[in-house]
Symmetry: C2
Subunit: 415 residues, 2 copies
């Protein structure tokens, strides 16, 4: 008899029939004697419709009220689900953010959970109830105002509940079978991973893999919550996201990720003086634009080129901000490029293995793909390349590091 | 500087443009220096769509969860309205049932308000905020579970808030200009009443006039809340619902109401013995069916006919329940008739004036309308007639009691 938190995403509860199917699946767990907490997203499309409605109402909707509006999506999901569950004889009880006492800070639209007061949930579980919690929402600890946790926030709700309740496992049900070695839409040979370490999952999420929200992974890592990513539409085991120590099969590289969401800005002939970089980046950071990679070439005759990437949605604004400053500090031209992609390989095995980077570079070189910038951490290597080579690069790297299903993966005994 | 509670119904907030228009109207009140609380219904059609969704999910949706679902309608209204209000520079703040501390009993679907803890609303008003409360919803005082007040519940929310806050007036904005002497769709000469007494309004609401929810009128009467029923779509004064003592012009009859929502059941040859009526009506009351008029003819040779009316939606079920009991107690045939209407005249002036009933009967007789049953109280007379004569009867009575705009209304000096 375990305590299990299950989270079902928007596609999993996308219509009446699917919600009924989720209830059937949940019943199976209850019939096995488990105590269960279910977290639900809004039905697929609902959140986007509500955002569209808000945008019709106001060019810049009040953030507090936007959260009041958006949380109705999950509220509808949990109510409908509980109706279906009760028809199956399950004593289901829905709880909204304020009822589940998911206490957050006051940053509307991307609040952080400070604390979950689990008393009520535990009482309900002790009475044999199925507790069904609306994902994505909480309340400001001080005022009781409704907050939301940002896109993908239901994953965070589930992991936070699993941590607070000391659940045995947090199952994230989605429309894919688990975490894959790369995007199966790009590389059909992509293999489902049985296990992935928190650190790897964090890098994968931040580098473009969409299966789990990054904040939920960080939370799982912090509290050691075992996360099982699996499909709502099949009974197969998915991927366990676990501490590194629990990984049975340590791959040198466990995944290839890519993202096309970035753009590159290059400032030529920047005077190589102290304080120049800070003057360039100050207005960008003040505008809330997140700079990813920054590359500065070695100086030649007191000048250098400075290259950095920003989210593609912020590209125009960033260019507008940098232009005047570049002129002020006596730099040269500012160039921009949106046709770039970031391709990354991720693996905790890299830590103890030299030659991974060299293999990545040679693989790309063999395909005549030019690497524009490189960025590395202990367990990942990212290369910015021309966007049109993205799929080619992903497939070549997937092949080179032996990740395909057909071949035996290259193993490293790192013990 | 007054404290005003305004309630806007579903048609008034029916779409984005209308919500913006309501914000403009509210701003006018604020600009005059009033402190204001706005109560909103769900956008027209939303509640019905949600009910349809619930019925798709379950043949008999769990009442607790149905309330969780339905309250999202008003939640969306208040959020969208506050966005519009803020764009006009109004410091609006939405409050849901749990935030406004509208504490109810636990009867899901038709909860009663026990208490409103007004501290938070008063604090916000003191800070110069416009407080925008979601109508129709509250929370169970003991558990914090979400409850709804039943159809028309937003009127009750508004009146209860006005009572708790000791507001100067509760303005109910709707899609009609006020309370009319009768339904203007039936009688184009119907006249808008400047004032109507609580008792009259109660009778009108229970006898078929739809302008105000009956529970809100009872609440207004109990706490002496002045209610101003008026149109969202015009600036004209509407109708004041006030204590009888405040009525300037006491009409003998102030309104003609009708309803086609009832059906009649007649049990023939009922043995005239003690306990027979109770045996007949016990199963009906146990089934939660509300019996309106009961008429028993004088006994002839130890038998009598028993006629009663029930809501038309409960007619079939009532017939099925009465049939077997009628057989058991040795009564004769059970007849049913759904083609009936109840036409009523209402007026506090009746209390002190004889001959009103006689005038009603003679008016109907003149039109050759047969009266099937009669039911009276101190301030109303209701007649059940053949449904097809409804409009004819309404117009004839409206004319006979001088309610039309063209004629000077018949006055009674009752001082």
């Amino acid at each position: 008899m375990a305590l299990i938190v299950q989270k079902y995403g928007g596609t999993s509860v996308g219509d009446i029939e699917r919600i009924k199917n989720v209830a059937v699946r949940v019943k199976r767990g209850l019939d096995q004697g488990h105590r269960m907490v279910v977290v639900l997203s809004a039905m697929a499309g609902v959140t986007n419709s509500l955002i569209a409605l808000a945008q019709q109402m106001s060019p810049d909707p009040d953030p507090r009220e936007l959260d009041v509006l958006l949380t109705t999506g999950e509220q509808q999901s949990v109510a409908l689900f509980c109706m279906a569950a009760r028809d199956l004889g399950i004593p289901a009880r829905s709880l909204l953010g304020f009822q589940a006492a998911i206490l957050t800070d006051r940053v509307f639209g991307r609040a952080r959970i400070n604390y979950i007061e689990t008393r009520r949930i535990l009482e309900l579980l002790d009475k044999g109830r199925l507790v069904v919690v609306a994902g994505f929402q909480g309340v400001d600890e001080d005022t009781g105002d409704i907050t939301t946790l940002g896109r993908g926030g239901s994953d965070t709700t589930a992991v936070a509940l699993a941590a607070a309740l000391r659940a045995d496992v947090c199952e994230i049900y989605t429309d894919v079978e688990g975490v894959f070695t790369t995007d199966p839409n790009v590389e059909p040979k992509a293999r489902k991973l049985k296990q992935v370490a928190y650190e790897e999952m964090l890098e994968m999420a931040s580098l473009g893999a969409k299966v789990l929200d990054i904040r939920s992974v960080a939370l799982a890592a912090k509290f050691g919550v075992k996360v099982h990513v699996r499909s709502t539409f099949s009974d197969r085991e998915g991927t366990m996201v676990v501490p590194e120590a629990h990984i049975d099969e340590k791959l040198m590289v466990s995944g290839v990720a890519y993202t096309k969401n970035e753009a590159r800005i290059k400032v030529l002939d920047v005077p190589d003086q102290p304080g120049v970089a800070s003057r360039l980046f100050a207005p960008i950071s003040q505008a809330g634009i997140v700079v990813d990679v920054i590359i500065q070439n070695t100086s030649a005759d007191g000048h250098t080129d400075l290259t950095f990437t920003v989210p593609r949605t912020d590209f125009k604004r960033a260019l507008e901000l940098v232009g005047p400053v570049a002129a002020e500090i006596g730099a040269g031209q500012v160039e921009g490029d949106t046709n770039i992609a970031k391709v990354s390989i991720i693996g905790i095995g890299m830590r103890n293995h030299a030659g991974v980077a060299a293999k990545m570079f040679s693989t790309l070189a063999r395909e005549n793909i030019n690497i524009q910038t490189i960025n590395t951490s202990e367990i990942k290597i990212s290369c910015i390349i021309d966007e049109k080579y993205t799929e080619l690069a992903v497939r070549a790297l997937h092949e080179a590091f032996g990740l395909a299903e057909e071949v035996e993966p290259s193993r490293e005994d790192l013990a």
